[in-house]
Point group: C2
Chain length 361, copies 2
């Protein structure tokens, strides 16, 4: 179950127990015969124990020590597994990300930026990947705190040659993931890792990025969460700079040094403003926390939920579709689309994607 549906279920049923009890009926309305499998209490406890055995801990949405910048997201990850110093997740985070096949100069730039940012008490957040990510973590480790957001389980460092780096980061900062213990990272896990990087950061610096690369997706997620975007310019002759140059063209802060970042970061995370809710917020012109109905029980309304589902499934494809666009094309009220998608997600027929999009499974 994705974080959007999680948030909606909790808003509707208030306790996890009540939500779990209601699931089979909701899934059935969504067109699924067998109820979705919910881990047992014992399985959940086992997950917590495994993380603890590794020296880590699990943190849940609503917990007092849930990372505050992540909590500002409209759909905060429900469960996090964390190794290391929880304090690192309460600091003023700055993401530093970029190409895996980075140039030597790009890596030097990322390392110097990270060192200078960490020296100013900022927490450098990155994704443990080869190239820019590793350079950023290493630059920060010398002088301050760094956080690695990873795609797989805490016991599955990736890439394997960064196992030592992950251990260093856990010892002097923190490693964080949404993935359950034992998850070997696959490409489909990276969008969530990218969302963690964006969500843990007041601003995101992209050092080298080719067009259509993962770092640009992270930048879009950060922008959607109202975080500041920074990009280091580079020669147009190098493909790895085309993405960052394009970010600057679109309004990212042109970044040559840590000063350029510091001058444009909000002092107080609350100044970020609330991110817009991922569902229908643009239409209503409201942010998360305003009184957009989080849940519309079909029984409470005039909506024919079955017809809405058929309508929506006809519009969706395996490529992600923008939710606003879906509402417009469906001709249905936003509340009807919202309710229908909820049932469809629990029936495993659709999947919510980062960036306010949904696709057919």
């Amino acid at each position: 179950m994705g974080p959007v549906t999680y948030r909606r279920l909790m808003a509707r049923f208030e306790t996890a127990e009540a939500a779990i009890e209601a699931l089979p009926e909701i899934a059935r309305t969504g067109g699924r015969q067998a109820p979705p499998s919910v881990p047992s209490r014992r399985e959940a406890a086992q997950e917590v124990e495994r993380v603890q055995a590794l020296g880590g801990r699990m943190v849940f949405a609503g917990d007092a020590d849930y990372p505050p910048l992540l909590a500002l997201l409209p759909d905060p990850p429900p469960a996090l597994s964390i190794l290391g110093d929880m304090a690192a997740l309460r600091g003023r985070g700055v993401g530093v990300v970029g190409a895996r096949n980075a140039s030597a100069n790009g890596q030097r730039m990322a390392e110097a930026l990270a060192t200078d940012l960490a020296a100013q008490e900022l927490v450098v957040v990155s994704g443990l990947a080869r190239g820019i990510d590793a350079a950023a973590h290493r630059g920060a480790l010398h002088v301050g705190l760094t956080v690695a957001a990873v795609a797989g389980g805490l016991d599955q460092p990736y890439p394997p040659e960064h196992a030592g780096l992950q251990a260093e980061i856990a010892a002097r900062g923190a490693v964080i993931t949404e993935a359950p213990f034992g998850t070997a990272p696959q490409s489909r896990h990276f969008p969530r890792r990218n969302r963690l990087i964006a969500g843990l950061s007041l601003g995101l610096v992209v050092v080298e990025a080719a067009p259509r690369s993962g770092s640009l997706i992270t930048a879009r997620l950060a922008q959607e969460a109202n975080r500041e975007i920074f990009a280091v310019p580079g020669s147009p002759l190098d493909q790895r700079c085309r993405g960052t140059n394009d970010l600057i063209r679109q309004g990212a802060h042109l970044t040559e040094s840590a000063e350029d970042v510091l001058a444009n970061l909000p002092d107080d995370p609350r100044r970020l403003g609330l991110a817009r809710a991922p569902l229908f917020a643009r239409e209503h012109g409201q942010g998360f926390g305003d009184d957009i109905p989080l849940w519309d029980d079909p029984a409470d309304t005039e909506i024919d939920i079955g017809a809405a589902q058929t309508n929506i499934m006809g519009l969706l494809s395996p490529s992600p579709t923008d939710l606003d666009d879906l509402v417009r094309r469906s001709g249905l009220p936003a509340a009807a689309v919202s309710a229908a998608l909820m049932h469809l997600e629990l029936a495993l027929r659709v999947e919510f994607m980062p960036g306010n999009r949904v696709c057919r499974v």
Copy 2:
């Protein structure tokens, strides 16, 4: 005599003969005993003949074939010496300038940009210098027209190793200067050369430029003339990219290819809008051609021209001073400062500089 004073004298006296006749009296009011030396009719004719002997010609402000983009300047150069094809000076010019000590990649970029721009019927304008300038001329020569604006006389190619390049440009485009025949270029001649590049261009592309370099002065002159500014981004680790990155930060179009330039050039030079007049236009909120008095004869007004001159000379130094600032600090009406400066210039006691500035001689 500078172009500002030339324009004012012509506006006041209508014919060159009347202006020349009035000069001794004006200069005397400015505090100079001997009248300024005016070239004789014979000397002027000799200058024209020398340029013609080299295969070139002289063109004067107001002539039918005076370069139309230069004519849009608030203070068009009164006299130009030109070698080559006059048609090149009537085309849609684009300046391509940058560092003399350019990187190999910077030169490659300039050459490729110039080739692509020339292939689109644009005339590539540059300054014949080493590095970016030469690469831009060479890139354009393959496929279209290019114009070299130079600091010295037409018979004094500079740098000397570009004598062959200047000859090629004269054969397939044009070479243009404000300097009299025989002038060996010195550093004080380059601001006028830079103003020619800016004035002959609808837009100016800066490829590599260190902070406080001459290319940035050209960019400022182009901006003051309402021309579009383009800059190629580069690594912050290279000093030669700091100036261009800074231009982008200030609003220049980030430029990776000729398409970025073409997309942001006005189709019609008249869309440039009139450049603001170099004297006092900001204060009046008016452009050149509006009814700002071009000349205030002290006899016509209540102004004590002698006191104004003393006041102004006390405020000036050999470093250029902004004219608006001078008016503010003098406490005098703009018209009084304008009249006093005119007399002082003709007395060779002050000099007007590009960029709306004046200095003590």
